[in-house]
C-alpha cells in the first residue's frame, strides 16, 4: 500500500515471529511423520481421548437443555466479539476501581517484558504458576528464565511437562502423551528428595508432586495465572481447575499477576451461569469442575495485596478484524474438539507446533500468528484436517471449525500466487466447466487403464500422488463412463427393464 492511503488504519499486527509458541519448526506433515512413528504416544493419546470422549457424551446427554446452552454460549461470545473494545474498557475501569492495576500488551514481547518487570519489582526470583495457555503462548517461562527468574508450574500435568523438559501436547491434559511409568521416571530424575522407592500408581505420584509443590506454595511470594473468564461489569476474574493448586497460587502469595487474552471477556456475572456448565462438561466430562476461583481486585488483609492484570492482544485484534476468522475467538479452550479429532488422535499435539493444537489450533494459530508464505509451517495447519466435522459437533460454543478451515485454505491459496497445484486446479476447473471438455478429459482418464494393466488396479503413482499409493491402490478407470452407458443400447435396455419393475443384473453384482 502506498503512502497516499494515509489515514487508513493498517491491518492489526499478528503475533511477532520468534516470540512465544505460535509456530513450529516444521510443516505439519513432516512433524506428524515423527509423531506417527511413536507407537507409545499414539496408544497413550488414543486411550486418553477415548475415555474423555465417552465421559463428555454421557454428561452432555443428561442435560435436557444442552443444545440451548450451546446456543446461549455462542450468542454471548458473538456479542462479546461485536463490542469487544467497549467491554474491555468497562472491564479495565472495574478492575482499577477494585484496586487492581491494568497493563495492555500488544504482543508476546510486550507482555513478557511487563511481567518480568513486575516480578523484579517484588524482589523475588521465583514465581509459582497456575496452568495458563496465554503464558504458554507467549513463552513466559522461557523468557523469565533468561531474566534469572524461575517459574514453577503447579498443575500436575504442567509440572510433568516442565520437569520432563517437554512441550505440552493438549490444551487441558498437557501430559496426555505420557503414561504413568514415564511420569515416575521424570519425578525420580528431577524432583529433589524424592523417595527412590516411588511407585507408578496415581496416588503415589500425586503424593510426590504434592510434597514438592507444598513447599513452593508456602515460600513463593509471587504467582502468575491466566484466566478462563473476565467479567466486564464487575472486574472479576475466574480460573476453573481440578486440583486446587490454582487456588493455592491465587490466595497464598503477596502478589498476583494475571495474563489474560482480550477475548476472554464476558459481559456480566450472570453469563458465568452458561459457561460454568459448558466448560467442565465439554472439557473433562465432569458435571462441575472441582475448583472455581474468582477474585476481584484486592481485598485488604485477605489474599494477594497486589494484583496486576496484563491484557494480551498478540494477534487477537487481527483475528477480530477478519469477519470470518473472529469466530475462532469464541473458543473457551475446553479441548472437546481435540478429543474427538481423528487427526489429533493419530498425530498428537506436538505436530501442530503451536500452544494451540488440534482443530481449533489449526484455525487459531494462523489467525494469531499469520501464515507467511508457502514455507511457513503455519500455512500447512488449515490442511491438517479431513473436514470430518466431529469438532463442530463437539464444540460447546458451536464454532464451525470445518468452514473456518476452508476459509483459511482459501486465504492461504490467495497468498501463495502461482504454484503447481494452482495450475492443476485451474486446469481442472477449465476442463470441468463444460461437459464437452469434461467428456474429452474422461477419455484421457481412461488411459489409466493402461497404467493399471491386467490387475485392474494402480499401485504406484508419481509424486505428488505417491502418498496415496504408498498404502492404497487405485482401481483402474472402468471401460465405460456412466454417461456413455446412459447413451448406450445397453443402458437404454436396462432402464427399460427397470421401468417394468425388474433389475437386469438381479443379485449378480455380488458375484462379480
Amino acid at each position: 500500500m502506498s503512502a497516499v492511503t494515509l489515514g487508513l488504519p493498517s491491518f492489526p499486527p499478528r503475533s511477532p515471529e520468534g516470540a512465544g509458541f505460535l509456530r513450529g519448526a516444521e510443516k505439519f506433515p513432516a512433524a506428524a511423520h515423527h509423531e506417527l512413528a511413536n507407537a507409545q504416544l499414539r496408544r497413550n493419546i488414543g486411550k486418553a481421548t477415548h475415555t474423555i470422549r465417552a465421559k463428555r457424551i454421557h454428561v452432555t446427554e443428561e442435560l435436557p437443555d444442552w443444545e440451548e446452552l450451546r446456543d446461549a454460549g455462542s450468542a454471548i461470545k458473538t456479542d462479546v466479539m461485536a463490542r469487544l473494545p467497549e467491554l474491555l474498557e468497562q472491564f479495565e475501569a472495574a478492575v482499577i476501581a477494585r484496586g487492581g492495576t491494568v497493563h495492555w500488551a500488544a504482543d508476546a514481547n510486550e507482555a513478557n517484558a511487563i511481567v518480568t518487570e513486575l516480578v523484579k519489582t517484588t524482589g523475588s526470583d521465583e514465581v509459582i504458576k497456575v496452568k495458563s495457555m496465554a503464558t504458554q503462548e507467549i513463552g513466559l517461562n522461557e523468557h523469565l528464565e533468561t531474566q534469572g527468574i524461575t517459574a514453577y508450574e503447579t498443575d500436575l500435568a504442567e509440572l510433568i511437562v516442565q520437569l520432563g523438559h517437554d512441550k505440552p501436547s493438549h490444551i487441558l491434559v498437557p501430559a496426555i502423551h505420557r503414561n504413568r511409568s514415564e511420569i515416575r521416571e521424570i519425578f525420580l530424575r528431577e524432583m529433589p528428595d524424592v523417595d527412590p522407592e516411588l511407585g507408578d500408581n496415581p496416588a503415589e505420584l500425586a503424593a510426590a508432586a504434592r510434597k514438592f509443590l507444598r513447599h513452593k506454595f508456602m515460600t513463593t511470594p509471587v504467582a502468575i495465572s491466566g484466566a478462563n473468564f473476565g467479567i466486564a461489569d464487575t472486574g472479576t476474574l475466574t480460573v476453573v481447575e481440578s486440583e486446587g493448586n490454582g487456588r493455592m497460587c491465587l490466595t497464598l502469595p503477596k502478589t498476583l499477576i494475571t495474563v489474560m487474552g482480550i477475548e476472554k471477556i464476558l459481559p456480566t456475572y450472570r453469563d458465568l451461569e452458561v459457561f460454568l456448565q459448558l466448560l467442565p462438561r465439554s472439557s473433562t466430562g465432569e458435571r462441575m469442575n472441582p475448583y472455581t476461583s474468582m477474585w476481584t481486585g484486592v481485598t485488604p488483609g485477605d489474599g494477594p495485596q497486589e494484583f496486576h492484570l496484563v491484557l494480551l492482544d498478540n494477534g487477537r485484534t487481527a483475528a477480530l478484524a477478519d469477519k470470518i476468522g473472529r469466530e475462532a475467538l469464541n473458543c473457551i479452550r475446553c479441548s472437546a474438539c481435540l478429543n474427538v479429532c481423528p487427526v489429533y488422535e493419530r498425530t498428537g499435539g506436538h505436530a501442530y507446533g503451536s500452544t494451540y493444537p488440534g482443530p481449533i489450533g489449526a484455525v487459531l494459530t494462523p489467525q494469531l500468528a499469520g501464515m507467511h508464505g508457502k514455507d511457513d509451517p503455519n500455512s500447512t495447519l488449515p490442511f491438517a484436517s479431513t473436514l470430518c466435522g466431529a469438532c463442530f459437533d463437539a464444540c460447546p460454543v458451536k464454532i464451525d471449525i470445518p468452514s473456518l478451515l476452508v476459509e483459511l485454505r482459501h486465504q492461504k491459496v490467495e497468498q501463495s500466487g502461482v504454484t503447481a497445484e494452482a495450475l492443476a486446479m485451474k486446469a481442472a476447473s477449465y476442463a470441468m466447466s463444460s461437459s464437452t471438455r469434461w467428456t474429452a478429459a474422461q477419455k484421457a482418464a481412461g488411459l489409466g487403464r493402461i497404467v493399471a494393466g491386467k490387475k485392474g488396479k494402480i499401485s504406484t503413482l508419481p509424486p505428488p500422488l505417491n502418498g496415496w499409493t504408498a498404502a492404497r491402490d487405485i482401481p483402474a478407470p472402468p471401460k465405460q463412463t456412466f454417461r456413455s452407458w446412459w447413451d448406450s443400447d445397453e443402458g437404454r435396455a436396462a432402464l427399460d427393464q427397470a421401468r417394468r419393475g425388474a433389475h437386469p443384473d438381479s443379485d449378480g453384482k455380488a458375484e462379480k
Binding site: L36, L387, R409, V413, K426, A494, K509, A510
Partner: protein, 249 residues
C-alpha cells in the same frame, strides 16, 4: 416425479455402477429419471482445497444444468457432493458470482438430495424391495453424517433389504481419513486413520463394506485391496438396486 440424476464427476468417471444403480432404482420405483448431459462436477474439491474462484464456473454450471424447472428433484449418490451443493455453492456465488446466480443457486440447492434422504424424506420409502443375500457392514461417511445429517436413514433402508446380514461397524462414526486432497497432502496421517477403519471392517467379518460416498469407498477399498483383505466395497445404491432375479424367484 421427474428426477435428475447427478452422477458426480468421480461417479461418472470412476464408479459408474453407483450412478447406474441410482438411475435403475429410482426408475424401478416409478420415477422419470433424466440425466442432464451438461453436468460435470460440484466443485467441492476446489472449494475444500482453497480454490474458490476456480470453483465458480463449476457452481455456475451446476446451477445452469439443474436449474431447469421441469426437474422436480436432483438426486446424487454422494453425501459429500450434496453437502457441497448445500453448504458451499452459496458462499462461492455470493463472493464471486452475480446476484442472479445467487438466486439460482438457492433454488437448485433446495431441490438437491442425497439418495437416502430422497428415498426416506421425499418419497417416504424405507423398503425399496431390494434383495442382497450377503454379510454387509455400513460406514456412515462424515459428510452424510455431519454436513447433511442423514442420520440412520441409510440403515433404515438397509435393514429392509431381504436376506441381508447387516453387521454393525465398530467406531462407525470415525472418519476413514480420506478428506479429498488430505489423503495426498497428509498421506501418512490419512493412512493411520485408514488402518483403524480397515481393522474395524475386518472385525465385522463382512463380505461388503458399504457407504453412500464413492470417494470414501475408493479410499477404504484402496486399503483393502492393498492388504488383499477380500472384503469388497459397494455403494449403498448398488445394494438398494439389487433385486432377486426372476430366475431365483
Amino acid at each position: 416425479m421427474r428426477v435428475a440424476l447427478f452422477a458426480t464427476c468421480i461417479g461418472d468417471t470412476m464408479f459408474p455402477d453407483a450412478a447406474k444403480a441410482t438411475a435403475l432404482l429410482l426408475t424401478r420405483l416409478g420415477h422419470d429419471v433424466v440425466f442432464p448431459s451438461g453436468q460435470t462436477c460440484c466443485g467441492q474439491m476446489h472449494v475444500n482445497t482453497g480454490y474458490q474462484p476456480e470453483a465458480l464456473p463449476l457452481v455456475t454450471n451446476y446451477a445452469d444444468t439443474f436449474g431447469d424447472i421441469s426437474i422436480d428433484a436432483v438426486v446424487a449418490p454422494s453425501g459429500s457432493c450434496v453437502g457441497s451443493v448445500r453448504h458451499q455453492h452459496e458462499i462461492v456465488a455470493e463472493r464471486y458470482g452475480t446476484a442472479s446466480l445467487c438466486g439460482q443457486v438457492k433454488t437448485v440447492k433446495a431441490k438437491t438430495y442425497e439418495l437416502s434422504e430422497f428415498l426416506v424424506d421425499v418419497l417416504g420409502v424405507t423398503d425399496v424391495g431390494a434383495y442382497f443375500p450377503h454379510r454387509v457392514t455400513y460406514h456412515p461417511t462424515c459428510h452424510s453424517l455431519r454436513m447433511l445429517r442423514v442420520g440412520d436413514k441409510p440403515l433404515q433402508l438397509l435393514r429392509n433389504v431381504r436376506d441381508i446380514d447387516l453387521v454393525e461397524l465398530p467406531e462407525a462414526d470415525s472418519c476413514c481419513g480420506f478428506g479429498g486432497t488430505f489423503a495426498i497432502k497428509n498421506a501418512e496421517t490419512s493412512t493411520a486413520m485408514l488402518a483403524d477403519k480397515i481393522r474395524h471392517v475386518a472385525d465385522t467379518g463382512a463380505e461388503f463394506c458399504s457407504a453412500g460416498d464413492s470417494s470414501c469407498l475408493m479410499h477404504i477399498g484402496g486399503g483393502l485391496s492393498r492388504l488383499q483383505m477380500g472384503t469388497k466395497t459397494i455403494h449403498l445404491a448398488e445394494i438398494l438396486a439389487s433385486v432377486e432375479s426372476r430366475v431365483h424367484a
